[in-house]
């Protein structure tokens, strides 16, 4: 449902069917909802066959990069000569994104089930669920569900009566956006600073504790349930005509809409319809100015692009942006784009792990120049400087945090240049708080 709102008829409720229904939270409740059937099916299958079905379904990673899930699983060694690991990425820190939190709060057993299926497929006895430290409530709910799952024999040494071991532990983060990056996440589990690692080696060869590892997002893992329950063909048919983007996806919508929340629609759903119809449009009779469709790390769309954008991997690329994590940030005509882009830059500057010069210096300088412009002390050549800096920050670092900072700068200057210029020429008053 458009949680916390009533479900909208245009939504397709699969992952979010039980949002708002505390009855689905317990083991018994989840079983009543048809829970643990998918896991039973999976455990009766050969791991390679589970991977094959997931490949067939076309499911792609929901954490941001959209990498095909079955293919990722197939990179794990076929024979288990040493321990294999699964890491569930529940770090959810990308501004605009708040869907994994809702999955964990309402359907913790769905996540346990999804993790267990993935563990079977990649032959991992142990899964770490990495949850950001601020998510105290989801952590408590997940821990209670894990305790239940052990008690009920879903997990442990004789998981689901199959004589196989499946263990799952929560690892609590401690405040660092960068730990959502998969190699930083592994370092954080190992008790290290959350610095991303240089690849290769890739996690499937040498991941957490140096062992073969797969990292998947929370939503990706729960999406495996309908694939196993209903079949790959059924899942594929959910999409609106684009075979490269299948299934449903949760979109967290925030910013200047009347009804912010989580909406589940099929891939390919029009962004304009999501914002204007499902979310009730802009507040107070205002008009739409801009939208970031995939979490703060993807390029900003202007109004026309927003209206034209289809919400799937290819549809977003066609409009010059990315589907990312599905965190939709909406700006109405009252928004100060320069100020808000500066806030995004501050986010990246704060969260840079500081290993790479381009990122450490680039994010800091970006903030400084934007603040200068907002103080009314900018010059026209500062815009070129920002673009030049952004180019230096793109494609040159260990991870893409640096690129992520550049994305809203480049698209923002391109699409809302007049707002930057207004501060520079003095047509707009400086921001008092910065002077």
């Amino acid at each position: 449902m458009g949680y916390p709102h009533e479900p909208h008829p245009k939504e397709t409720l699969i992952l979010s069917k039980h949002f708002g229904d505390a009855g689905a939270r317990s083991y018994d409740g989840w079983v009543k909802c048809g829970g643990y059937q998918a896991l039973k099916r999976a455990l009766a299958m050969d791991p390679a066959d589970v991977i094959e079905i997931v490949k067939e379904s076309g499911l792609r990673g929901r954490g941001g990069a959209g990498f095909p899930t079955g293919l990722k699983w197939s990179f794990m060694p076929k024979e288990r000569r040493k321990p294999h690991y699964l890491c569930c990425n529940a770090d959810e820190s990308e501004p605009g994104t708040f869907k994994d939190r809702e999955i964990m709060r309402w359907t913790p057993h769905a996540l346990i089930e999804g993790c267990a299926i993935a563990q079977h497929a990649i032959q991992a006895e142990v899964c770490y669920i990495y949850i950001r430290g601020e998510f105290t409530e989801p952590i408590a709910i997940m821990q209670a569900a894990l305790d239940e799952a052990y008690r009920e024999g879903v997990l442990g040494g004789n998981a689901m009566g199959t004589n196989r071991r499946i263990d799952m532990y929560i690892h609590r983060g401690a405040g660092a956006y960068i730990c959502g990056e998969e190699t930083a996440l592994m370092n954080s589990i190992e008790g290290r600073r959350g610095n991303p690692r240089i690849r290769p080696p890739f996690p499937a060869q040498q991941g957490v504790f140096g062992m073969p590892t797969t990292i998947n997002n929370v939503e990706t893992l729960v999406s495996v349930l309908p694939v196993l329950n209903e079949g790959a063909e059924w899942y594929k048919d959910l999409s609106l005509g684009n075979p490269k983007s299948t299934g449903t996806k949760l979109f967290s919508v925030c910013g200047h809409v009347r009804k912010p929340g989580n909406y589940e629609v099929t891939m390919g759903f029009p962004l304009g319809e999501l914002v204007n119809d499902l979310c009730g449009g802009m507040r107070d009779g205002r008009t739409l100015k801009a939208c970031i469709p995939g979490g703060s790390s993807v390029p900003i769309l202007n109004r026309e692009e927003t209206e034209a954008c289809l919400l799937d991997y290819e549809g977003c690329v066609e409009q010059g942006t990315m589907l990312g994590s599905g965190g939709v940030i909406v700006f109405d005509d009252s928004a100060d784009m320069v100020y808000q882009i500066m806030r995004l830059a501050r986010f990246y500057a704060h969260e840079s792990c500081a290993q790479c010069t381009q990122c450490r210096e680039g994010t800091a300088w970006t903030v400084r120049i934007l603040e200068r412009i907002l103080r009314g002390e900018g010059e026209m050549k500062d815009l070129d400087l920002l673009l030049d800096l952004s180019e230096q920050m793109t494609g040159k670092t260990i991870c893409v945090l640096s690129d992520s900072c550049a994305a809203p700068i480049v698209s923002g200057i391109k699409k809302f240049r007049d707002e930057f210029e207004a501060y520079i020429t003095g047509a707009k008053q400086p921001v008092a708080a910065l002077t």
Binding site: F98, E134, Y169, H171, N262, G327, I329, R343, L344
Partner: protein, 164 residues
Amino acid sequence: MKATGAYEPIFAGERRKRLDDVFTCYPTKRAALLPALWIVQQTHGWISDEAMTEVGQVLGVTAAYVKGVVTFYTMYHQHPVGRHFIQVCTTTPCNLCGAEGVVEAILEHTGCGDLGATSADGRFTVIEVECLGACGFPTAVMVDDDFIEGVTVDGVPELLGRYP
């Protein structure tokens, strides 16, 4: 914990048992570092140099290593904070919906004055933080371990009243 007087180990009795349980979840002792630091912070409210030394001894790493990790993660306090620790999200989505006004109201009503400062009565410390992962329900605020959605300027006095 006081700087003077004998240092009382944190990992004794029930807490030691909790840590031993944590060890069983990981193939290395070092991996218990974040959980161990959480136990320290839950016990004392912050993580002192002495506590870092103890954690290092228990886990078989140097105190300098522990400090390197503590300083990386923003949720670990390296100094004592007020009785209630308030984190207000001011990243773009919350910011669009008035988060800076909420910060101002909280600073005013707590009497903290400045971000990062503790109020004279020792009751509150307030900081701004980046996105808390609840952007659809602005402003997102954490008070201690409580996660609170939809905080407005008008709701601030009532909210603070819940934390004597």
